[in-house]
Amino acid sequence: MIPMLETRDLAAVYGGNRALAIPHLAVAAGELVGVVGANGAGKSTLVNSLLGWSRGRPRISGEVTLAGEALSHLPSFERVRKGLLLIPEGKLVFATMSVEDNLLAVGGQLLGDRRRAYALDDIYDLFPGLKERRGHLGAQLSGGERQMLGIARALRLGPRALLLDEPSIGLAPRLVATVLATVKQLAADGLAVLLVEQNVRAAIEVVDRLVLIERGSIVAQGPAGAMRDDPRIAEAYLGAHAT
């Protein structure tokens, strides 16, 4: 199986401190990989570094390939156009623009060779909630709607691999389930998905494989079923008391 997204020797350095060191990580098309770990373990740094993107100014090194094509020398926006999409944590919609403008602003004109880029109607079929709010400003959306809009905007760009950074943060439990089900569906449709989640209990239900990160390094990984019984996961994240 050829991985859709693969990285080697990925490292990020913030002012002399190494925040990330990942010798190897790969995600296949159709695979949903969860990345879990404590606060500040480097989960966000991992997905941001795959795009060479950050709101800070880290030095990022290492190789990133998407569908066999090397991306490491490309600026973030070029990687996006190649189909590596990140839905960042925190601010992920354009607050001063309407929902429809958020979606219209990308897609179409940017795509060259194109893979499957979702048309506006496809997006509205997938997220009926967004259709109802199409005229509202990004700033007026609820947390769940913003998350949906973030994902929808990524789909407009014809993704091959999707990186989601804490999509469930701040959402009500019912919404968490909806968002994660959507993510699972996207993977089932053939995307390579890397899902950063702090909510391990919810994530482990949907992912195929789980990667545990501590202090910027991978300390454990394996199929979701096996990882459920891994003591490092069970004790720290699932709150299992010697079951």
Partner: protein
């Protein structure tokens, strides 16, 4: 004082001001950038127009795009040089760099065009319109019409086209725009090139009203500040109305009080606004 004549003067002047300021409005509103070399770019636009018409003997309609092309080139080079400062959003350094650029343009223009004043004559500026005892030229009419058309087109482009949406995304959040696949650097370069073209267009249309000198540009930059601040930073429609208001103010203040102190008076109003509402800039779209 002839009230109706002052009203006409004010309206013409107002459209001139709005047009002079529009490049800066877009610069600040769309890219959150500033350009203190704006006045010298206006000067350059006026001289390129003059040179094309008077020295090369080409038609005015060729001179206008020639001036705009020169404006695009200067804007592009400026932004290219300070791209790193732009990406860091180091506004204070950008301000000084553009001030330096203006100074360079001033020296270069004097070197090329000489330091004597010139009159920029266009086919329209010699055609007068008399209406009772009221007077204006066809150049004035062309200026007003061009300004209105320019503002309508610009407003449409920003609100309803892919280019406009792209620019608005960069204005609001450059890092997030990168994640939407937008080449932010290219947008910055484009916006500065637009600023150059817009101010050159303004110069080609407005400069025939007065003699031109390579040392000019000071008044234009003042006018621009006032229009941009009064209009609500970065608002296209706001700029239009602010320009109009400033034009009327200038016409009537000049006629009733003193023409020498008009700019000073307008500037004091602007300072008062900035001091009373220092959040004005921070609240602009595109600020984070």
């Amino acid at each position: 004082m002839n009230l109706a004549q002052q009203l006409i003067n004010g309206i013409v002047l107002g459209h001139a001001y709005a047009l002079i300021a529009i490049g800066w409005t877009v610069l600040l509103g769309v890219a959150r950038l500033v350009n203190f070399g704006h006045g010298q770019m206006y000067m350059l636009g006026a001289f390129v127009t003059w040179y094309t018409v008077s020295r090369l003997g080409l038609p005015y309609l060729v001179a206008v795009p020639a001036a705009m092309l020169a404006g695009v080139a200067v804007g592009y080079v400026m932004q290219r040089v300070m791209l790193q400062l732009t990406l860091k959003q180091d506004l204070v350094s950008i301000m000084i760099v553009t001030l330096g650029f203006g100074y360079v343009l001033n020296g270069a223009a004097a070197l090329v065009f000489g330091s004597t004043g010139q009159i920029l004559e266009t086919p329209l500026s010699r055609l007068d319109i008399y209406w009772g005892d009221l007077w204006l030229t066809w150049q004035d009419v062309a200026l007003v019409v061009a300004a209105i058309v320019f503002f309508i087109v610009l407003k449409y482009v920003i609100d309803h086209t892919a280019v406009g949406r792209t620019a608005r995304m960069v204005a609001e959040d450059p890092p997030l725009a990168l994640l939407a696949g937008i080449n932010v650097k290219k947008v910055y370069l484009g916006v500065f090139a637009f600023e150059g073209a817009a101010v050159a267009l303004a110069a080609a249309l407005v400069a025939p009203r007065t003699p031109i000198l390579t040392s000019m540009g000071f008044d234009e930059v003042i006018v621009t500040f006032v229009v941009v601040v009064l209009g609500g930073i970065g608002s296209v429609l706001g700029s239009y109305f602010a320009g109009l208001a400033l034009g009327l103010f200038t016409a009537f203040f000049g006629a009733l009080v003193s023409p020498a102190y008009t700019t000073a008076a307008a500037f004091l109003v602007m300072i008062a606004m900035l001091v009373l509402r220092p959040g004005g800039f921070a609240a602009a779209p595109g600020s984070r």
